[in-house]
């Protein structure tokens, strides 16, 4: 065996840029929770974690032929640079899609984006300076939290219940921020089948929200990726359909067609739209032109409304399987939401359980979920988890909830062994459903 040769000591730092990264990148870190999801991609694991839409039933062969013809016949345009605001024909189509939710809009006020996620990024970039406040539902979409953090914005959560944002909580949050001298730039809300809770704002709450926005001179950013995926009850009007000056609207084809094309949009008041277009040109020159041609081809040549009906039927079956699985398998003390559309249910576990520290046990048992803490900027959500029913089959959903029930039982037994439970001060959570479990079997 041999020892290392004596070497001249160097103050070597293997990442030579370590002292040059922008402050905002310090929040962009690898997380152990995210790493565990890597296992969830294996077929042995029932993943109730990801929010991937199930696009297996799309008429892929016919779409393939249409796209081949697109390249053949119009490829010189479709594969060329395009407009920073998005292609005019795409924006026309987008207004037709939004009309399905009672939104009246002019194509000139639409900015096409690389998925609605980029729309959110452009809106945040356009409005927010470091230290500004964005109000967001408690809990809120993890991707939005990441974007807001990247712009060094302070996120203040506003409590919701099973009817959506509570007006009193919004009023208190605005007053508290303003009393502290903080600048609120907008309220970020997902009114339909919210990610992660599955909660839908009632019509009355929507009206109250618009009224409060007027009272407090507040801008609302309405994120509505799931709006056309109502699976129970009547669809509700979008906030944008109730106010066209105070609402910036984010839409997407990711759930109603397919996410791989990465086409979303922002519908904004005229002046805001001008800023967003400039921001888009700065970011990408133009949103993906080929994807816009492809999606327009789909909308023109296929029964996209019929496809959405098929999606609703499929997701309804999966939602029912999820609710049935939860009813059959969750331990006493669990509650969960009753989504009437979209992809997600939100589970609140018995006191003492911590969804983040329980995740490795779940992964070992071959089931995955997203811990509730991912959806809060303030460390809350430890007793919550998001379960998605969009991608796995009904049988897999039932099996996943069975495994999850066993994991929770084992974890509860572990907690009892160590005397952790009622009264523990270390577990923090917010519950959006204080009522009993839904009666769906």
């Amino acid at each position: 065996m041999s020892l290392p040769e004596p070497r001249q000591r160097r103050d070597t730092v293997f990442d030579p840029w370590i002292d040059t990264y922008a402050d905002r990148t310090h929040g962009l870190t690898v997380s152990a929770v995210r790493a565990l999801f890597s296992v969830a991609n294996r077929p042995e694991v029932v993943s109730l974690a990801g929010g991937m839409p199930n696009i297996a039933d799309l008429p892929r062969e016919a779409i393939g032929e249409a796209i081949a013809a697109l390249i053949r016949d119009r490829g010189t345009q479709a594969m060329q640079y395009g407009s920073g605001q998005g292609e005019p024909f795409m924006r026309e189509h987008i207004t037709e899609v939004m009309a399905e939710e009672a939104i009246v809009a002019h194509p000139d006020d639409v900015v096409v984006t690389c998925g609605s996620q980029q729309g959110l990024d452009l809106v945040t970039r356009t409005f927010c300076d470091p230290g500004d406040v964005i109000l967001a539902e408690a809990p809120s979409y993890v991707g939005a939290i990441g974007t807001f953090r990247a712009y060094q914005v302070q996120i203040i959560h506003v409590a919701i219940d099973e009817f959506g944002i509570t007006p009193q909580a919004l009023r208190e949050a605005v007053n508290a921020c303003r009393a502290a001298g903080k600048r609120i730039k907008f309220l970020y809300s997902i009114p339909n089948f919210q990610n992660p809770t599955g909660v839908t704002q009632t019509l009355e709450r929507r009206r109250e929200l618009i009224a409060l926005a007027h009272e407090f001179d507040l801008l609302i950013v309405e994120d509505n990726p799931y709006g056309l995926l109502t699976i129970e009850g009547d669809p509700l009007p979008a906030l944008r359909s109730m106010d066209d000056e105070r609402v910036v609207y984010l839409g997407s084809f990711s759930k109603t067609f397919a996410p791989g094309f990465r086409v979303g949009w922002v519908l904004a008041p005229h002046a805001v739209r001008e800023k967003l277009t400039l921001a888009q040109e700065s970011a990408t020159l133009a949103p993906p032109v080929f994807s816009q041609f492809a999606i327009s081809t789909y909308l023109e040549q296929f029964d996209w409304r019929g496809q959405i009906v098929a999606y609703r039927d499929m997701y309804r079956g999966r939602r029912d399987a999820m609710l049935r699985g939860l009813t059959e398998n969750m331990p006493a003390g669990c509650t969960w939401t009753h989504p009437t559309g979209g992809f997600f249910a939100w589970v609140t576990m018995p006191e003492g359980l911590d969804s983040q520290s329980m995740l490795p046990r779940a992964v070992s048992a071959r089931v995955a979920y997203v811990p509730g803490t991912a959806f809060y900027a303030d460390g809350m959500g430890s007793r919550n988890m998001r379960l998605s029913y969009c991608f796995p089959s009904e049988e897999r959903i039932l099996e996943g909830t069975r495994r999850l029930g066993e994991v929770m039982h084992d974890e509860l037994e572990m907690l009892r062994t160590f005397g952790i439970g009622v009264g523990s001060a270390e577990h923090r959570y917010r519950d959006v459903t204080a009522g009993p479990a839904p009666d769906i079997t």
Binding site: M1, S2, L3, P4, P6, R7, R9, R10, D11, T12, V13, F14, D15, W17, I18, Y21, T25, L28, T29, V30, S31, A32, R34, A35, L36, F37, S38, V39, R42, E44, V45, S357, M358, L359, P360, R361, V363, S364, E411, E413, M414, L415, T417, F418, G419, I420, E426
Partner: protein, 319 residues
């Protein structure tokens, strides 16, 4: 593409909690070998593996699996059954090194005082008395970790007795047995031991300085979150002692080809924390940094390790 090493099957992924790290390590190793002109197949560990090995001409396996079956020796025993040469330690040696509750008592170097307890003990004997006894015996602060896991997953530093039960629950989420050991304050270094046929040799120690003060999962795998210094800013005496410790552990556990030993240089000198038979090979991992710090090339090392595995297979008595 032809190569004197035949077809190298880089195994990465698996079903352990460290799958993500393994995939990143595997990609790095595969690319380094390809860059040197070798023929590489990347494979996950799944039902297709046996067929892949059976239908690949002259395969040699480079396991880059972290945690679980990939590091506890079971996969290596399977490779022995198949008669396929592979880089790294044998199954039994891997088993000795991987399980922290087995490894520490086996090595005759300075280790932190520790106890390893399966969760059933707490259930049967009552947690309260055991928790008190652990703290009475080991004192505070403590570090609690799963006995069979890596990348600091499930590890918690405990400074108050009230926090110990939660730390135990977090460790048991990763497996049946947890190790509770004295927390040693000091300089954290890692020493890589390489043996490509001329006997084991230690590479210069890499010093670890996490920005947050804690070398947890985030600090390990987010570029820029940790400063790595090589050679470590330690005295020549400590550097030599760390190298000797790592070589001693490597030989005493019967490891071969490659190991990485984690050491804390505390008030009493270098203390052994753990050793890894399948260390991380990602862009922010310690072995590639040590290789670079030694003025060597990662791709050359990977190829030399594969060549050594081939030689050993051709002359089994040498293994």
């Amino acid at each position: 593409m032809s190569s004197d090493l035949g077809t190298i099957v880089v195994l990465a992924g698996g079903l352990s909690h460290e799958r993500d790290v393994s995939l990143r390590s595997g990609r790095r190793v595969a690319q380094a070998l390809r860059d040197r002109g070798h023929q590489v197949i990347e494979s996950d560990v799944n039902a297709a593996l046996a067929d892949l090995l059976a239908t690949t001409a002259d395969p040699v396996v480079f396991p880059v699996l972290h945690g679980g079956d990939g590091e506890d020796g079971s996969l290596r025993q399977v490779l022995d059954l198949f008669g396929v040469p592979y880089v790294g330690s044998t199954g039994p040696a891997s088993q000795r090194a991987f399980d922290k509750s087995i490894c520490s008592p086996l090595v005759t170097v300075r280790t932190p005082a520790q106890v390893a307890l399966p969760n059933s003990v707490f259930r049967e004997l009552g947690a309260k008395a055991l928790v008190s006894a652990v703290v009475d015996r080991l004192g505070l602060p403590l570090i609690v970790k799963p006995s069979r896991s890596g990348s600091a997953l499930g590890c918690t530093k405990v400074t108050r007795i009230e926090a110990l039960p939660s730390a135990m629950v977090a460790a048991y989420a990763f497996g049946e047995t947890a190790v509770i050991e004295q927390f040693i304050e000091g300089t954290e270094v890692a020493v890589t031991v390489i043996d490509t046929g001329d006997g084991p040799r230690a590479l210069p120690a890499v010093e670890i300085r996490p920005r947050s003060g804690i070398y947890d999962y985030t600090a390990r795998y987010t570029a820029g979150e940790t400063r790595f210094l090589c050679p470590a800013e330690i005295s020549d005496e400590d550097a030599a002692a760390c190298a000797e410790l790592a070589l001693h552990v490597h030989e005493q556990l019967g490891l071969r080809d490659l190991s990485r030993t984690d050491i804390i240089i505390g008030p009493q000198g270098p203390t052994f924390i753990e050793t890894n038979v399948s260390p991380g090979m990602t862009e922010t991992s310690l072995v590639p940094l040590a290789v670079e710090g030694a003025g060597e090339y990662f791709g050359e090392l990977c190829a030399a390790l594969v060549r050594q595995a081939r030689r050993r297979h051709a002359a089994p008595s040498e293994s």
